[in-house]
Amino acid sequence: MKSFQYLAPIPGFDYLVPKSIPELFRALDVQGRKVSIIAGGTDLMIALKERTVAPDVVVDLGRLRKELGGINSAGGVLRIGSMATFSQIESNPLIARYANALCQAAANVGTLQIRSIATLGGNLATASPAADSAPPLIALGASVTLASASGHRTVPVQSVFAGPKRNGLRPGEIVASVEIPVNGEAWSGWTRAAVRNENVLSTVSVAVASTMHNGKFGTSRVALGAVAPTPILGEKATIAMTGAEASAGTADKVSSLAAQDSTPITDIRAGASYRRRLVTVLTRRLIMKMLSEVAAR
């Protein structure tokens, strides 16, 4: 446990609130000074209090909630602005319909009070291995648009994660939006294990997205959270599931391969071998859930 310096105020910093995207990129051009971006702030505020970050400049995205927010669907792509909150994601009918795994994960982030302000972009940029939005996005084949003064680039979700609490963004770059390809036939789901039901980081989280046709799984992805330095695509599991017979036997095989894909550590939440076992159990549970839900359609 880290200790909090309750009585001492957070050390001072310059505070900038850009009112346009060009102004934002000028604010982020800090000439070697340490900059932190505050979106929802639910991770940054803890880090400021713990003194794990001590920025010279804090850039507040609060005035760019319109420019960097919103959830819409066009041209077969579901686009979620980085400033969309987990409450907005949890209650959005497009996400419930086309990205159900993300909807379920969003509903389990933190608490009502956290979900009210915590943003999707912040969850990705903080780059926790346990970031609950990441496995659903990886399973859904989402990409992330990063923006900077020199333009945009689109990267896979995994590229935003460089290591535990270390993102792959370049200096002066922000998460602008997330794009999820829409497939009306696809099923997706998310589940997790944690030491209690609410207000806790996931010990292990798993997301699966797939389609089913003529008794076979189509393009499938199995993604895992909190079992590697970053959220990962379970490659062996993904390959084994794609094109396989839609059956309990496949669920057994894929879920044990998912455990092989994981490289968990032992920490305060769980031991490595228990986490590996959870990967199998949770992956199997999701695939069995898909089989019964698709059969009931």
Binding site: Y15, M45, L112, N197
Partner: protein, 156 residues
């Protein structure tokens, strides 16, 4: 800029402009400077919910918000939900149902439950429990508070 910055917001319906230190939490600002002493600092880490306020009509833990983040926004504390003579239905029900023991968690609890009352009148017991999981009470154990919400609904 380092040093105080000017922030305009509404607090409990009243338009205000204040000079604020950017490194101050909204919780500390509301309790220590704005006069809304119902806002309690418990854990100071977004776990306990004692400092819950409405920010643009969403419940937030004010210890996880920097004070100047409320610029241009609307803040409501328990003081803004009702008065002694005209309490919010949830405030009245807390009294009637003895849903208070030591009282420290109550302002935040009332903010969350009044939000559920206003926005999710059909929320099931399970949904109410899920939504109030960010408000910890170490005395009464939640049942009286859920009963208070339900009794407020009935007398609506």
């Amino acid at each position: 800029m380092r040093g105080k910055i000017k922030v305009s917001f509404t607090l409990n319906g009243e338009a205000r402009t204040e000079e604020m230190q950017p490194n101050q939490t909204l919780c500390d600002f509301l309790h220590d400077e704005a006069g809304t002493t119902s806002v309690k600092k418990g854990c100071d880490t977004g776990e306990c919910g004692a400092c819950t306020v409405l920010l643009d009509d969403m419940p937030v833990t004010s210890c996880l918000v920097l004070a100047p983040q409320i610029d241009g926004r609307d803040v409501v504390t328990t003081e803004g939900l009702g008065t002694k003579s005209a309490p919010h239905p949830v405030q009245r029900a807390f009294v009637e149902q003895d849903a208070v023991q030591c009282g420290y968690c109550i302002p935040g609890m009332i903010v969350t439950l009044s939000w559920i009352y206003e926005h999710l009148p059909g929320a099931s017991d399970a949904e109410i429990k899920r939504l109030m999981s960010g408000n910890l009470c170490r005395c009464t154990g939640y049942i009286q508070q859920i009963e208070a919400l339900k009794s407020a609904r009935k007398s609506a």
